[in-house]
């Protein structure tokens, strides 16, 4: 599946390279802007709908193509895409996340980009998000799933 644990660490640099491109896109298309998220949720700009919509269309075509031609990874392994499981948490968790998204103007990816773009105070938001994830792990068994 993934590269064997014994693979040298620098094998992961390719993901960092794509991450850099991703971070540049996040900032240059202003996807990480709190203002753009406000525009989106207020239905006052098409920009974010265009971004997410075209990303889904391109992703959908790519994934269906990969499945159709049974494409392999560059190292020759068959590509396996895990299914997303459904449980009640999909609903409760998404609602909670949606509230946080509107408040912070960020989903997890943009949190990293906001810090990188020099908004150092977002480190606090980021740490709180890590704490939220940690607390979820702690109380997971007691939550409806």
């Amino acid at each position: 599946m993934s590269a064997p644990a014994s693979a040298p660490w620098w094998h992961n640099l390719r993901y960092a390279v794509w991450g850099i491109l991703f971070g540049i896109v996040f900032v240059k298309a202003e996807i990480i802007s709190w203002f753009r998220i406000q525009e989106m949720f207020r239905f006052e700009s098409f920009h974010m709908y265009g971004v997410i919509g075209s990303a889904v269309v391109v992703g959908l075509i790519s994934v269906q193509l990969i499945k159709r031609i049974r494409a392999k990874t560059f190292s020759g392994e068959p590509i396996v895409i895990p299914d997303k499981a459904f449980n009640k948490g999909t609903i409760y968790g998404s609602v909670l996340f949606g509230l946080g998204w509107a408040i912070t103007g960020a989903c997890p990816g943009p949190l990293f980009a906001q810090v990188g773009a020099g908004y150092s105070v977002i480190i606090i938001t980021f740490l709180s998000a890590v704490a939220g994830t940690w607390l979820y792990g702690l109380v997971r068994e007691k939550l409806p799933h």
Partner: protein
């Protein structure tokens, strides 16, 4: 050319690049695109505290941390080497509404009136940084994904749970923006 790169990128450039991340990660090494998992790996790496949810070999998922590390660097490059010389332009109605709530400085990506260190120890800071961040971290893990894992990756793979998730977080975001934020912005 460079001027075009420095200006704001249109959605039809950004969206397809983000969409291509899904096949790129699959081809590079069978990785499923999803960024909120990075928060879980950080917990597993830094403070697993014997919690079952965090006791796994996070090093096998290190690619995810390399990716978000790249995002930080990329964002840094975008605001330095590729910095936009002009202030950001936001939709007129949004600007007007926010101005009525005291958010008047639209020049940067984030409103200075909210996201500044001066606010960290205030009620406003508590809501926008602590509560907001907590909801994002707790919610995405409970939901099993965020905008990348569910809305982009999941929908690309025709996963119906991802469609449910996407509808829920968009719905909650809309409700929060129209009915809760107007109050929060007065704090």
């Amino acid at each position: 050319m460079l001027d075009a790169i420095k200006g704001p990128w249109p959605w039809y450039v950004a969206g397809p690049i983000i969409g291509l991340t899904v096949p790129a990660l699959l081809l590079l090494g069978n990785k499923a695109f999803g960024l909120s998992s990075s928060l879980r790996h950080i917990c597993a790496a830094c403070m697993p505290a014997k919690i079952p949810f965090f006791t796994y070999d996070w090093k096998k998922e290190a690619w995810n941390l390399f990716f978000v590390g790249g995002v930080v660097i990329g964002a840094c490059i975008a605001v330095t080497l590729l910095a936009d010389p002009d202030p950001m332009v936001i939709a007129e109605p949004t600007a007007g509404y926010l101005a009525s709530k005291g958010i008047t400085d639209n020049s940067g990506l984030m409103p200075k009136e909210i996201f500044s260190w001066d606010n960290v120890l205030t009620v406003r800071g508590f809501i926008f940084f602590i509560v907001g961040g907590f909801f994002v971290g707790f919610g995405t893990r409970w939901a099993g994904g965020c905008t990348s894992g569910h809305a982009i990756s999941g929908l690309s793979n025709l996963q119906w749970p991802s469609l449910v998730a996407t509808c829920c977080f968009f719905g909650a975001g809309i409700i929060c923006t129209w009915f809760i934020l107007p109050y929060l912005l007065t704090l």
